[in-house]
Amino acid sequence: MRRFLVVRGAQALVVIVLVASLAFLLVHLAPGDPFGASLDDPSNDATLHAQQMHRWGYDQPLAVQYIKWIGNLGRGEFGWSHSRNRPVWDVLRETVPRTLLLMGTALIAGMLAGLALGTWQAARAGTIAARVSGALSVATLSIPEFLFALFALAVPGARWHWFPVSGVVDPAMHDSMSAAGQALDVLRHLVLPAGTLALVTAAAVCRYHRSAMLAVLPEDFVRTARAKGAGERIVVMRHALRNALGPMITITGLLIPALFGGAVFVETIFSWPGIGRMMVDAVTGNDYALAMAGVIIGTVLVALGSALADTLAALADPRVRVEA
């Protein structure tokens, strides 16, 4: 197991370094620079621009900049965000927890809903209700997340006023609320963005889990449980469900990158100030340090998720360990 963890960790590290290096190259090759004039702004001062580029070392050869950047990264320094006028580390300290909250809530809600629905569909396989529900799951998977987000924004948000349409907290009332009120305020703001992400997650989990359940339900141990007189609910929940959960560990690892990609859209649409929105701002504003930090954090999250899924799968099934 120890060797397995070391190998997985080394693989993750290589992936992170490769992706970060590629991001460095691409971000610097893109048109513009952190001090370029904004669109339509005639007050661009070439001298000032050159001074700023020199001061921050952006006029040095790319290789030199890369070596410095890698060196700083090794010391845990992400650099300075020019678009936010403060250290990248400070920005990450605010944005990463918000994205983790959003993704974590969506993942848990999506997993629970998907497992419940997948189990139900498998248990009711062949019925009209299960078929309709299955078709809806496929339809949900086929529709891009941002369309759900726009629907959630327009209908339960703006039209029905059920939940706030943007932000993390109520900008006017949050500070005057009690601790419980503040927590509920965050939860209210979390409903639409996390719900959007959770919906797609649930649909994916549901499809995978239904298949896993359908594979398990005809097994001998399920038939034995039934023969021993166990009720259908006990058979499904206690015998079949537990044995069908194995593949879900791997699926969870795969869902994290998809969730992270979805978070970019959802955070932008619902003004959730997390890493997704931060990266969009950083790329459009040529904020090199911030954009690269975002890429690294994203890669780390994905690599960690994947490694965690592999580890859990290895713990659950020793054959995986041997193959690694």
Binding site: P42, R55, R84, R86, P171, A172, S176, S271
Partner: protein, 559 residues
């Protein structure tokens, strides 16, 4: 058994949803109101020399107070119409090369320290320090040599010459800064210091809280010696997404939306709870021809010809274009200026829309109809590419309509939609035939020198199409040095007429700058160049108060 548990689960779920949907704050009473402004961008910094975007300007100009400000006429020549702010009055020297300001002795910084002449001098030093990197540094140094201190409430600005807009350039740029707090800061990092996120100002408002990318709150400053703002709180709520901002506004979560799209304006205007407010627009957009061949200095094979440029201008029904894109909210561009500038002259003679005349002119230039409907001359088609930034929906729509209108006179236009920065680089490097350009001007018309004169055709210059006309340059120079607004206006008019006749660009439109306001907010007068300056006078209409209007205590980030 199962139905019972399902019902129980449903009750629990319903309870959670009801709790989440209905959670609110504690009971409060009193208070003069809260206005929430939906905004697309975070200020990024509140350090006045680096406050470049609209949000940063808005907040810093409410937290800091300048010596004087433009008055209702928005005149920028001399000091006529300027209103005293921090300075109670000012005196000119006999040679008009220096002006002495007399500062209000009651003025205080928000930490209680008196605002002194030394703070004005210190502010000037920071605005002109290359290490601080203020964008206005170059223009300010071209006008003002130095600021000296007489006594604690008297300071003198020494001008380099008698530029007509020297007073405007000084007072609308420089803000006094608290020397007692910042003097010991290292210059190259003062802009990056904690002060840039928690400034101590001298204006009617003080910063209460700023959560970057989320919200920013200001409230009345107790140390301000002038009239107290009516509102208790003004909160900016940030979202980068225009659709979200509009939905937030329509849902009543914000009271004022500072950038309302034309489509949303139409929706909002149909509802009694909302008002559409037209803000002063200093933007003008155009189709610029490249008068030189690519990046070389040879004349462009098509647009080096003045008559051809005029024919293409004549072939476009600009009024129809503007109506198609902006309905009745946009305005046809008249020239390299906007109607909001004092130098604007709506009587300058335009090249009229006349498709028949355009056809005749093209015929006379030797461009004859070809087999595929495209005009040809010496075997070459009358075709060009038009580059445009993909981020601008309005420019995209204009480009398509222009393509169609020019097709009707036998001109082929290939549209090249580019990523914003790529478009900007291509334009700046003169690598285009024609480009959909646009400038954001200011109340002062002097920007024309940076964008359309011969002096701006070189590397890094903003005269992308490299239009050159000595007579135009002379008129602009005369306008820039004219002693009176009347004389300057005459020179600007002459310059505008020359450039319109030369048609280096087709002046397309002044985009409408619209805001949405909830009917519960009483706005008063909106200043065209800075709508936020009216905020101290905003109030909540009686009978339209919300729970958020009650006075509540909030933690402050201001030291």
């Amino acid at each position: 058994m199962r139905s019972q548990s399902v019902r129980r689960g449903a009750y629990v779920a319903f309870g959670i949803v009801a709790l989440l949907a209905g959670c609110g704050g504690r009971e409060r009473s009193g208070g003069a109101g809260t206005v929430i402004i939906g905004s697309g961008q975070d200020p990024k910094t509140l350090f006045p020399p680096n406050a470049d975007n609209v949000q940063a300007r808005a907040v810093t100009e409410l937290i800091f107070q300048r010596l004087a400000d433009r008055g209702a006429t928005l005149n920028t020549v001399g000091d006529a119409g300027f209103v005293p702010r921090l300075a109670l009055k000012w005196d000119w020297s006999a040679d008009s090369l220096r002006v002495t300001f007399h500062i209000d002795p009651r003025a205080r910084w928000q930490d209680g320290h008196p605002v002194s002449a030394e703070d004005v001098k210190f502010g000037f030093q920071l605005f002109t320090d290359s290490l601080v990197g203020a964008r206005a540094r170059g223009e300010l140094l071209a006008l003002v040599d130095s600021v000296s201190v007489g006594d604690s409430v008297t300071c003198t600005a020494w001008f380099r010459g008698r530029a007509p807009e020297r007073f405007d350039g000084l007072v609308t740029t420089v803000m006094p800064l608290p020397a007692h707090l910042l003097r010991n800061s290292v210059r190259d990092s003062v802009a990056l210091s904690a002060f840039s996120h928690a400034p101590v100002g001298n204006g009617p408002f003080k910063l209460v809280k700023w959560e970057e990318q989320v919200r920013l709150e200001i409230g009345p400053s107790a140390s301000y010696s002038g009239a107290r703002p009516t509102l208790d709180r003004v909160i900016w709520s940030f979202s980068p997404n225009g659709t979200t901002l509009a939905q937030q506004f329509m849902a009543g979560e914000s009271d004022f939306l500072e950038n309302l799209s034309v489509d949303d304006a139409v929706t909002a205007s149909k509802q009694p709870d909302f008002r559409v407010v037209r803000l002063g627009s200093y933007d003008y957009n155009f189709l610029a021809f490249n008068l030189r061949d690519g990046a070389t200095d040879r004349p462009h094979p098509l647009f080096g010809d003045r008559a051809l440029r005029r024919a293409l201008t004549m072939a476009l029904d600009r009024r129809l274009l503007v109506r198609s894109v902006f309905d009745s909210l946009g305005r046809v561009g008249l020239g390299p200026f906007t109607r909001a500038q004092w130098s604007a002259d709506t009587t300058v003679t335009q090249i009229p829309f006349d498709r028949d005349a355009a056809t005749r002119l093209l015929d006379s230039l030797g461009w004859r109809a070809g087999a595929n409907g495209v005009r040809m001359r010496n075997g070459k088609p009358l075709a060009f590419s038009l580059i445009l930034p993909g981020v601008s929906a309005a420019r995209g729509r204009f480009a398509v309509l222009i393509q169609e209108q020019l097709r009707q006179v036998g001109v082929k236009v290939d549209l090249e939609k580019l990523e914003g920065k790529a478009w900007q680089e291509r334009s700046a490097q003169h690598l285009f035939d024609a480009t959909m350009g646009g400038w954001h001007a200011t109340p002062t018309p002097t920007g024309i020198k940076q964008t359309w004169t011969s002096s701006a055709t070189g590397k890094g210059g903003l005269n992308w199409g490299r239009y050159q006309n000595g007579a135009f340059d002379a008129q602009v120079d005369s306008a820039l040095t004219a002693a009176s607004q009347l004389a300057a206006r005459a020179h600007y008019r002459a310059a505008y007429q020359i450039i319109i006749d030369d048609a280096p660009a087709i002046w397309l439109y002044e985009p409408p700058l619209l805001a949405g306001a909830n009917a519960r907010v009483q706005l008063g007068l909106i200043r065209p160049d800075a709508w936020w300056m009216g905020i101290p006078g905003w109030s909540i209409a009686p009978g339209k108060r919300l729970p958020r209007d009650e006075r509540i205590r909030t933690p402050t980030t201001t030291p």
